[in-house]
């Protein structure tokens, strides 16, 4: 059976009788990569837990349920296509982040936070 296929090897094969332009090495890339974020039962925010490949957005959420909540980890799942995430570059680390390190006037250090306020 032809190994080059539109839908990804195995799941949606194209077979010998359907002529397809051979695509070198891109066949398995047809399932885009998604980043997965899970919020735990006691959490207030979603946390990045890993990534997965899926054919589309709906299958990605369900795959995340199977891969990243097997052990009762969470109650809410977000998936985002990795291609849709814009990230800072490691090369730019110094110009991006170093300047904020020595500016004490940006921190509210003159307030007292009461003991029973946990999230500040």
């Amino acid at each position: 059976m032809s190994m080059t296929s539109e839908g990804g090897h195995g799941a949606v094969p194209t077979g010998p009788e359907v002529p397809v332009e051979p695509k070198p090495a891109t066949a398995r890339r047809d399932w885009p990569l998604y980043e997965v974020f899970v919020r735990g039962k006691r959490g207030i925010n979603h946390v990045h837990v890993g990534s997965l490949h899926a054919p589309d957005d709906e299958m990605a959420v369900h795959a995340a349920r199977d891969l990243y909540t097997r052990r009762n980890e969470g109650v809410s799942i977000w998936v985002v296509r990795s291609a849709d995430i814009t990230a800072s570059s490691p090369d730019e680390k110094d110009p991006m982040f170093a300047p904020s390190g020595d500016k004490v006037y940006r921190h509210p250090t003159f307030y007292e936070i009461p003991e029973n306020v946990p999230h500040m």
């Binding site: 006691r42 199977d66 009762n72």
Partner: protein, 303 residues
């Protein structure tokens, strides 16, 4: 600055810092607090046999699904199929344990050593003619499309039965059904999502999905036929008469197939429930060979 708790730390802390979230925390015992006495007016032999019917369906389908482990189309799908099989195995375990607890063990208890629990004895030491599963779950997997069509059919039937079984007069069956309904809803949805994508996909996937449909359809011939045991138990409010779920199963399968642009085959004529009465083809013997081989060769082995 406060350190933001990861989901794994939250798991730990939720269960009094037992540590090592990876070993599992906060397990719910599904039958905790459930009364296990046999309800009044019910023959334990009938109840046990019904548990074997539902339990064997789950056990055999789980074994079929695990045949995809190491060769599923994608890693994510492999874990999904594995999870579905594990859910079914959990249901099988509870049901076979219930059969054992009411004394229905057949020849298995003599063959298994004392140290083996009832549900393991039933799983590993019964012969094919003692199994009470239907042809729908025994049939071979075929290709991925065929597997998803069979899973869709089997999960739809099982979900319909278990949804009604939640009202059973037997508290144990009702509890098992309540737990199973959540799992089966997910299994049915997983299969349906794939059937939609394969049917309404490429020419090749559509062809294979249609072929899978034609292959699975005849297996629905006996799933709505009740045995005398099921009829007696249904009259007593314990079991679900499978004839009751025909309408729902037809409606669900028709809807999914039509949306997947597949042709719904003629519904097969009703057949006698041979599998439920212990008559099986060679596929079951082959499957049980693999399932039972190790246990039978080393009956007292432990991990």
């Amino acid at each position: 600055m406060a350190h933001e708790e990861t989901v794994y730390e939250a798991l730990d802390h939720a269960h009094s810092d037992e540590g090592h979230w990876a070993f599992g925390t906060g397990f719910d015992e599904p039958l905790a607090g459930v009364d296990t006495t046999v309800p009044e007016g019910v023959d334990p032999a009938d109840l046990g046999e019904y548990c074997l019917m539902l339990g064997d369906d789950a056990l055999v389908l789980a074994q079929r699904l695990t045949q995809w482990i190491t060769n599923a189309p994608e890693l994510e799908e492999e874990v999904a199929i594995g999870n579905i099989a594990l859910d079914l195995l959990g249901q099988a375990r509870l049901l076979l344990a219930r059969a054992g607890s009411v004394g229905v063990l057949g020849r298995s208890r003599e063959r298994a050593t004392e140290s083996i629990p009832d549900e393991d004895a039933l799983a590993y030491f019964r012969d094919p003619d003692e199994f009470r599963c239907t042809a729908l779950v025994e049939a071979e997997n075929g290709d991925f499309a065929h597997t998803m069509l069979r899973l869709l059919a089997a999960a739809t039937v099982r979900l319909a039965v278990l949804a009604r079984l939640r009202e059973s007069r037997d508290p144990v069956l009702a509890a098992i059904a309540a737990k199973g309904v959540n799992e089966l809803t997910y299994h049915r949805d997983h299969a349906a999502r794939w059937v939609l994508r394969l049917g309404d996909g490429t020419d090749e996937s559509h062809r294979r999905a249609q072929a899978g449909t034609e292959a699975v359809w005849p297996l629905l011939a006996d799933v709505f036929s009740a045995t005398p045991t099921e009829q007696r138990l249904a009259a007593g409010g314990i079991a679900v008469d499978p004839a009751e779920v025909r309408g729902e199963v037809h409606a669900v399968l028709t809807e999914v197939l039509e949306r997947a642009t597949l042709t719904v085959p003629e519904w097969p004529a009703d057949a006698s429930p041979r599998g439920r009465l212990g008559e099986h083809g060679p596929e079951l013997a082959e499957l049980l060979d693999v399932l039972q081989g190790l246990a039978r060769e080393h009956p007292a082995a432990t991990w």
